[in-house]
């Protein structure tokens, strides 16, 4: 479509053309490998022909449902913890307290280090005789077992993945025009009401984008639970073990497909719910 406006010519690319590069790229480099995986997942271990045996084995086994439950638990808990950390932190940093510049840079540092290495560092810090427990012991007189526990995994995940949520929340919070909050205050709202009715809803878009990222990364987390999970092994680790240690590629592939389906379902529901809510509260 061409629009002539004065001496301006605007060539408007169709929506399909804009979507094409990414879709084509992922078609070639992602969809095809996924088909290879799907085909492998339907193979029978040690026999020829195709069947749904692997899926039956996975979905019918309590063990694998436990693994799925653990993965979801870790991902959701980490996402919530990240939001709980991100929102107050963003509000505080917004006021430019002393040292806020340092904290802003600090927030991004977990991104710079390889996940494998941060797993190692976290294990060292939170060991029973590590620095964190030495400090905690001097305060409350006893060690807290963090390494190799579920709550430990949540602490580690949050360390690694919260920065994504913090960054987007901070951006959204700082984008809020103070004039709007001022207007609310002037018309008699208490600070809490300003927070609940004005500030938080306006920062929701940022929280949403970042927490999606955090959830995804926590869901597919591999390096941290491999090294620091102890007996708690989420989906990515189990897929890896099935495929490379047990050499059972069909089962590993089936597990990976199940993993993908769950993630898509959760994500689509989350998107639909939060977009619906945003529409109800009025888009800002």
């Amino acid at each position: 479509m061409r629009r002539m406006l004065g001496r301006t010519r605007v060539v408007r690319l169709s929506t399909v053309t804009l979507l094409a590069p990414a879709l084509a790229y992922l078609g070639v480099f992602f969809v095809y490998p996924i088909f290879v995986t799907l085909r492998t997942s339907l193979e029978r271990t040690g026999a020829s022909g195709y069947s749904f045996d692997n899926y039956r084995a996975i979905l019918g086994s309590g063990y694998y449902w436990n693994v799925i439950g653990l993965t979801l638990l870790l991902a959701v808990a980490t996402t919530l913890a990240s939001i709980v950390v991100a929102v107050p932190l963003a509000l505080v940093l917004r006021t430019h307290v002393r040292g806020h510049r340092f904290v802003r840079v600090l927030v991004l540092t977990p991104l710079l280090i390889l996940a494998l290495i941060s797993a190692l560092g976290l294990l060292i810090i939170w060991a029973n005789t590590g620095w964190a427990n030495k400090i905690i012991a001097s305060i409350i007189g006893a060690d807290i077992q963090v390494d190799y526990t579920i709550k430990g995994l949540i602490v580690f995940y949050t360390w690694l993945y919260a920065p994504y949520t913090i960054l987007t929340t901070l951006s959204a919070v700082e984008a809020i025009d103070p004039a709007v909050e001022e207007a609310a205050r002037v018309t008699g709202a208490t600070p809490i009401q300003v927070l609940r009715r004005v500030t938080l809803p306006l920062s929701l878009r940022g929280v949403r984008a970042g927490s999606i990222l955090t959830f995804l990364l926590a869901f597919e987390a591999f390096s941290i639970p491999l090294i620091a999970g102890g007996n708690h092994r989420p989906l990515a680790v189990v897929v890896y073990t099935e495929a490379t240690v047990f050499n059972n590629f069909p089962k590993g592939s089936a597990l990976a497909i199940v993993m993908a389906v769950i993630a898509v379902v959760v994500l689509v529901s989350y998107q639909a719910l939060s977009t619906g809510r945003q529409r109800r509260e009025g888009r800002t």
Binding site: P21, L23, L120, I124, T129, G130, D177
Partner: protein, 294 residues
Amino acid sequence: MSGLAAASRGAGASASSESPARMERIAHSTRRLLVYTVLLAFSLYIVGPFAAILVNAFGQGWFGGRWLPETWTLKWFRFARTVADLPTLMTNSLTIAGLAIAISLAVGIPTAWAMAKRRVRARALLMALILLPRMVPPITIALGVSREFYGFHLVDTHLGIALAHSILIIPLVVLIMSATFEGLDDRVLEAARVCGARWTHTSWYVIRPLVMPGLLAATLFGFVTSLNEFTLTLLTYGPRTVTLTVETYVQIGQGFTTIASALSAILLVPSLILLVLIQNHIKPENVVGGTKGI
């Protein structure tokens, strides 16, 4: 935060015998103390593992729950230099990351624009499909990717590995940039058009500064993803394209945490510099928001 507000209000309201100003000051100091304590705890939480890695990289004999290692040494760095050819590793990792970001931005930005500015049917589903590569553990597409790449003669090439990394980075670009573009107020673009600006002029002088924070964030996340990636890399690399992550994974899996720590310590320096430089340019208010006050 609401608790603090309540505290200050409560303190103010119940001040009958004390002077309101004094109560206000006490509440204010308490609030500041609380804020600083929380910030300090948060900072320790984040900095802790870095400190542990550095101490591990420079120490020897860190046993039995001691505060610090027995002796200090540089030998892990020397070891890292002989066993791991560090300049080549860094060149490989950085080249691949750069290529991957260029490809991902080129492919992802048009799609992000479409998702943000155009009416796309089943948007949620499409977005979920685009994000799918980040939800499937890389090991499952690794085999298919490896076979494909072998057919295309892309194994053991920087471009090949960059293409593999892009599979994981394009979803990030689309996710972040679509949020950024969503915040880009159409009225600003309309205003530019009304003033007669050419499309190229509009892009450079109007759009670019507004989306720069989002662009930088996407670049940073993409860079980090590429540096960290090892499952796909393990199947597509060769002697000419050993990356830092592959080397570290091999070291830590079959070898020594101290050497891996030394490698990471070396990597931290340029990363921190890069971060500080970028930090000054990411104006946080514009990554996900639009312009203020229009």
